[in-house]
Symmetry: C2
Subunit: 268 residues, 2 copies
Amino acid sequence: MANRPLAPKLIATRAWVPGSADAGLSRSLLSQEEAAKLATIATISRFRRGDTIYTAGTQADAVYIISSGLVKVFRQDQPGSQILIFAFALEGDIIGMADDGAYSNSATAANNVTAYRIPIKSLRSRMLSDLGLDLALLAKLVHELRASQRHAFILSERLVANKIAMFIEMLEQDQASRLGLTPEEVHLPMSRRDMAEFLAATPAAITRGFKTLEKAGILRCRDNHHVAILDQAGFTQLVNGSLHPGGDVATRTRNGGSRLPLKRSGSR
Amino acid sequence: MANRPLAPKLIATRAWVPGSADAGLSRSLLSQEEAAKLATIATISRFRRGDTIYTAGTQADAVYIISSGLVKVFRQDQPGSQILIFAFALEGDIIGMADDGAYSNSATAANNVTAYRIPIKSLRSRMLSDLGLDLALLAKLVHELRASQRHAFILSERLVANKIAMFIEMLEQDQASRLGLTPEEVHLPMSRRDMAEFLAATPAAITRGFKTLEKAGILRCRDNHHVAILDQAGFTQLVNGSLHPGGDVATRTRNGGSRLPLKRSGSR
DNA sequence: CGCGGCGTTGATAAAGCTCAAACATAGTGG
DNA sequence: CCACTATGTTTGAGCTTTATCAACGCCGCG
């Protein structure tokens, strides 16, 4: 049973319960038993790249637990107006939040997606009888809320280069917590345009932001979907918003590089 | 409804359950019974304006349900660096989210605050036995998540005047759902500086944004804490991001004063 | 009465958006 | 296999908004 991919997984980190052992690690929130029970009320849905999974404002009859693929959860008030992507959902994420019975945002598949579709009614009745499921959803929602606040924090940044750095750090942590180790390269599974719509910027600004970070020696892009962090110290400072990439990073030779080896410093 | 102020209240709107009757209305999520049970494990805390309620990174031993007053929930990475206010919490809100046993953001009282302090341990044991409490927290978290996404959406706006309009609309809806009717004036209980820190702008920009909205005839400020919406249609368009206040309002003199939608479309 | 925080107003500079065109990369059908 | 189209990405030039920095008025408070 352990190696079968046929039961939904819900992934999150611990919230109030301190767990120093696996701090920062994602755990599966559902016991096998609970996952199996959920599987009995779920159906498997498949979506192709670009497919609409649900649309904001329509009646919310089901939530989806992503099994594989990448889903963009977004909001667009008027057709043709600005889009803001709220989250990139992947395996172990649950989507389909509703407000007064209607989906409060939209979701489309960014590539081929398989997901468990769980009707709300079944879920509700199941929740009333199964406390563990309840607590799992609670933990997942806390996780989501934190992620959303982090998103807001990224959006509050003024310079696009900083936003990008924070975005990459977010993906890095996510991947690290899923894999259990920090990968050499961070994988950016979405397009530049998607990044722009997540970071509230234009694709052009995203391109230039990456260029800025590369020129500053902070990171290196193998291609548009794989970046390596070269200057971890400078990167962290960027993420913490304490300095601006254009000016100070180059002049950071004063204090910075004591903790980690810098590959190349201050080439200007 | 009830006149006993001695039990905690949790306020939220409905999520998946459609309730066409009281759509958009806040409901108290706890039955009197549950509230009473919660009260037995809660203690009342009082804070004065400026007091710290908890600090990010410290051990999270309790959550707080606000009974009265205004609390700023915020994050500040480095002392002296940028602050982002995530939420203004008031009566019926719950604060104290944690990550791996530590508070993930900070909270201070914006004025005199009374709150129910509920130790995590008691809450957990209570949750395991009381399913209703569980579901109430779930509903509240969905509410919070939506609020956070809305915040992100506001932050994604480029022009400060639009941000302000969306912020006012947010407060208006909140007040309307609490009162059960749309008030004539929207109350802004926080300072300009707090708004700036919520909207990721500077106080100066906030001032100028309000000026812009007033000059455009969208709203009128009785004082710094009370605004009335004069042009509901224009206001709504601003909130939906379909129209730029600076551009169109300035060009209005050329166009002879007619309010024109001027939306952009991708047709070529 | 002086002090410090807040709010407003004014100049300047920087960063990003808009618009637009060149470029790259698929996917498609001949 | 190739043109051909559609989509995404990059680059460039001009314009707008806001951050920054500063000064000033206001108010409450010691």
